[in-house]
Symmetry: C2
Subunit: 308 residues, 2 copies
């Protein structure tokens, strides 16, 4: 029996529709729409795509969205000066600096930049003060991907309270905030990672399994308790024909898409999991659209908090 | 076979001895010892005891420790003014405001006060910016009890990396930071709480079981995998003779202590667990002494960071 597919695009549309009256009310009150500044350093192809879809979604939702570009040769100081200017901007309630930064900026550049964004404008939820408030269960700006996962679970009537949730991956931007959000909704939460012993066995304890490790098709059916809800946070661009041939039979829709385009975006969850899971977020069309919707929602919230 | 008892008092002595040269070096360099201010509002009997032992330990270790008292009738504003003065004090590197505050200060008083303590002097590790840095695995001031647990585990050669750790309790000051510290040391960590389904079964998965729920003798042998390490963070003052009679046979040392004093300090772990666990921290004499040692260590660290 095939898993119920959880339609992230539909949930994202629903969230954006619910935000519309708030955006209109804010715009009427403040004399301007909520505004977000997107900062792009250099011109990484994937980053251009991500930033482009964020700009488009923001514009369609009635937000002001400005793209601020710096050349790939910009220094960390240049970027910190731009962030400082945006922190003081009256028109921008949210600031997002697109990762990754050019390696020449140094290994701590992202951390320095995220620390520099004013906590009230930190719509990515990466500033330590927002992370600390998340731990303490206090209102604030929370990382977009994990809060999007909560939205899709809740709006799909997946019970979180009392469930066993297993999160594979312990990154600062997905795994750890994901575990905290599930915990605060009364799941019993286990966090797994590369050092976990017998990962498939631990994952099989889950009623809700969140895969956020960034390894295409890593989570195979032996990781999944029959009927469990599986959330696939991974998005890897795969160009290896052998891997695609192993995952998708000749003549299948995705195999043919690969043959046309030379690449596929794959999640962390193996296609065969669809036969074991009770519910599943697909890639693409699952968590991805939610991430952008939550970014817009954070921007509206930041705008309202500034004018409260 | 009885569990190996992990001697928290001995580990705390060891930590304090290791700090001595750092304290002497700081004192020589700064012309004054590292200083901590302990703030006590009103005169709760248990708080007087806790503050008294913190003052004593600090003094014995060569730290300056000042007790700042406010009357039970003090307002939250009075307390915030005192915190502000201590934030600016040249003599104090650490500030600890003893919980609980008088209920008349309002339900959000503790949160307001912990938020007001300068992050660099927040030796309790309760300020959200320090909590956020803990999540991000960055150097900072970390809550004393969970960091004390890590010290006793590591110094007792209990392997954390690759182990399954289960934390019972999800408080901001013990459960959540405990889970994060174990995770960063590569344990596979599960956090349980009052809404966990079949808690004994989940607890039995643990190689390292941390009980931090504050219910005396709640963790019975059926919670414990034979040979597991059990860390007992609870300290409850018990005055109920029926409970004591159920836990300790007539004529036993603890039963007689209860009969003499009319009260016992008990942990969250049932005495029978000693027959199942491989290693166990006793109450008293386990985690408690570590908490104070880590408070002193945080104070020295805060002093060094201010003068770095």
């Amino acid at each position: 029996m095939a898993a119920r597919l959880l339609d992230g695009s539909a949930v994202a549309r629903q969230i954006r529709a619910e935000m519309r009256p708030d955006i209109e009310a804010f715009t009427a009150r403040a004399g301007r729409p909520p505004g977000i500044a997107l900062v792009l350093v250099g011109s990484n192809a994937a980053s251009e795509l991500y930033v482009g879809s964020k700009l488009k979604s923001a514009g369609e939702s009635g937000l002001r969205a400005d793209l601020e570009r710096l050349p790939a040769t910009a220094s960390l100081d240049d970027l910190l000066r731009l962030v400082d200017r945006l922190n003081r901007s009256e028109l921008h309630d949210g600031i997002l600096v697109q990762s990754p930064l050019p390696p020449a900026m140094g290994s701590h550049a992202e951390r320095r930049v995220f620390d520099a964004i004013a906590p009230g404008k930190d719509v990515d939820g990466f500033n330590p003060i927002n992370v600390g408030r998340l731990v303490q269960g206090r209102a604030g700006l929370v990382a977009c991907t994990p809060s999007g996962v909560i939205e899709i679970l809740e709006r799909s009537n997946i019970a979180i309270a009392g469930a066993r949730a297993v999160v594979i991956g312990r990154s600062d931007i997905v795994g750890k905030p994901m575990a905290l959000l599930l915990l605060h909704r009364h799941a019993t939460v286990t966090i797994c990672h590369s050092r976990t012993t017998d990962l498939p066995r631990v994952a099989r304890e889950a009623d809700i399994l969140v895969a956020a490790l960034g390894r295409p098709a890593f989570v195979t059916p032996d990781f999944v308790k029959p009927g469990a809800t599986v959330v696939d946070v991974g998005t890897s661009r795969v160009e290896d024909p052998a891997l695609v041939a192993r995952l998708f039979p000749a003549g299948s829709r995705r195999r043919e898409a690969f043959e046309r385009r030379g690449a596929l975006v794959l999640g962390d969850v193996h296609p065969d999991v669809e036969q074991v899971a009770g519910a599943l977020t697909p890639v693409p069309g699952g968590v991805g659209p939610l991430t952008i919707a939550m970014l817009l929602k954070n921007t509206v919230r930041a705008a309202e908090d500034r004018f409260a």
